[in-house]
Symmetry: C2
Subunit: 344 residues, 2 copies
């Protein structure tokens, strides 16, 4: 069983030269006589030689690999972000090491350690939140890191980030509902993505306050935190809506599109019509949002750009360029799930 693949040493023997010569020849070095160079390349090709990236990584400093942590592959938001990352990575011949954390802090630490062991050049993290020991460890091992949608308060200099503006997005959503004439507006959030939920909720509260509306605690529901990876936002949304109805809200702003879809399904069960009886606004603008009935009014996040910019930022860091964290704007997309309240 000839399991071992051909090395430059093998080529060297076949060509009657030293492995150094082969190495240089394959790199088109001027040091090697053109005819020899060509002959060696010919032999290498015939022997089906493929350079061993592991050895190259050991020798050089770069592995041309970056680690990617996301919370779930099933999450369509993450999917689009990863795609943005992947496109830039591929163009720069960088390989992607993918890991999924399911929002588990322990698992997250373990993933970082694995990335470190593998000596990735950098890490992009699109997880829900950065925690103390996590940040500390990242700083200790000096691993270049870019965070997506975490709006870390620049705790450490090493941490760069690219975010979409949750707060402003939430404000747009609620302002849209206010403009339609709604006064009693509910909020359905999630408990396991603390930071982003807090920002969107803050945008919701502040916008209502600005309009002179006191937020009623009964209008707000946050899905309980569960570590169950099978946790499903749609089901949560579906379960939470009925609790909200007795309060008389005429519109609901949801943490994301999945929650909003859950609301749609609950409405269908209850015989409520959207948007006639209830207006619904989602967040993210995933594909799903435009496929459901009625198509969701939502806040569009530039998912591909978030990923692409994060990847480019990481590349810049690796080249020693100075980079600056960025915040991208979100954008309201009005579809058919919102309308003036029934009374008007």
């Amino acid at each position: 069983m000839n399991r071992r693949s051909v090395s430059i040493q093998d080529i060297a023997e076949a060509a009657g030269v030293s492995h150094s010569t082969v190495s240089r020849a394959l790199h088109d070095s001027d040091l090697i006589r053109p005819e020899v160079r060509q002959r060696i390349q010919q032999i290498a090709h015939e022997m089906g030689y493929t350079p061993n990236a592991v050895a190259q990584s050991l020798k050089g400093q770069r592995t041309n690999t970056i680690g990617l942590v996301i919370t779930s592959i099933a999450d369509p938001f993450a999917g689009r972000v990863v795609r943005g990352i992947e496109e830039i990575a591929q163009a720069n011949r960088i390989s992607l090491l993918l890991s999924v954390s399911y929002n588990d802090p322990e698992l997250e630490m373990e993933i970082i350690e694995t990335f470190h062991r593998r000596r990735v050049d950098g890490v992009i993290s699109a997880t829900a939140q950065i925690r103390g020991p996590y940040v500390e460890r990242l700083a200790q091992i000096k691993m270049p890191t870019v965070l997506i949608n975490q709006q870390a308060e620049s705790e450490a200099d090493r941490l760069h980030s690219v975010d979409a503006d949750d707060y402003a997005g939430a404000r747009q959503a609620v302002e849209h509902l206010l403009e339609l004439g709604h006064r009693k507006i509910g909020y359905l959030g999630v408990g396991n993505r603390v930071q982003s939920n807090r920002r969107r909720f803050a945008g919701y509260c502040d916008t209502l306050s600005s309009a002179g509306i006191a937020v009623d605690a009964q209008w707000v529901r946050i899905a309980p935190t569960v570590n169950n990876p099978r946790a499903d936002d749609v089901l949560d949304g579906q379960a939470m809506l009925p609790e909200l109805l007795p309060t008389g809200v005429t519109a609901v702003f949801c943490y994301n599109d999945q929650i909003a879809v859950g609301v749609l399904m609950a409405c269908r069960e209850l015989g409520l019509r959207v948007p006639e009886h209830l207006s619904v606004v989602g967040y993210d603008d995933v594909d799903l949002a435009s496929y459901v009935t009625p198509p969701l009014t939502t806040i569009h996040q530039p998912k591909l750009r978030l990923g692409a910019i994060a990847m480019q930022m990481l590349l810049d860091i690796l080249e020693g360029k100075a980079v600056q964290s960025r915040i991208l704007p979100n954008e309201l997309v009005v579809r058919a799930s919102t309308a003036p309240p029934a009374g008007q």
Copy 2:
């Protein structure tokens, strides 16, 4: 700038022993005196040592990394499969190198070469089709490979696969429609996933034939093949349906759920009611299928299991066990998009 991280050599100097002793101590070798062993482990911990997996990979034969090729991250089917793979991989401390091929044969070859350069232990391919040079190269470099949903006709011994039974699934879908009383049943397929489309189409044709129904070529539409990565099945479905209507079909069997969703949207535009005016059956049973209105009757594919089994199969191959390709059953899920035809 102390960019280099600590090595066992550094620990050896700090402990006043040789690097061999450190290596053995960290592996809890009996050869090292317990007190020395413990002291070395202590020092290693204090210095923040993390073993260099690159060097370990170079020395040993395994990299504990596998390459994963999929056609698109946005594809919800692929997402679930990847998740099944990831769970098993994580449990076995295997890292995943993710690449996306966008159905581009050239890109696919390039990805395989990259995986080979990186000396991954094996490859799982969930791309649309295996082509000649691709197979040839895989055989040449003897890289253990498991294919998902490609039903390769065991062209090479090295190629193993795990599939869901497309043909039987398609038969179930069409039989369901026949039982409801439909006689004129359309098929909407895709052009860029040749193999699976062919199998599902064959199931469609044979089932109709068995029922004594001659398939009318007008009932069938295949979305044109485009290399545009932005190609979107939903849009294709939406575009194809109107061409089908003049033929008087009362039901449509779609290649996958996205096509079916496109059909739903087209019906909405045209004022057709589903299932009263038209019955629609999808394929895959992605999350989306149960969220649209009406929820789709579809063929459920065991996506997580496909991924998990593929990964386990690859692990078995790596351990030298004999493995056998498998075909899993699909299963009809009846929801609300199918009903007896209008006439009845």
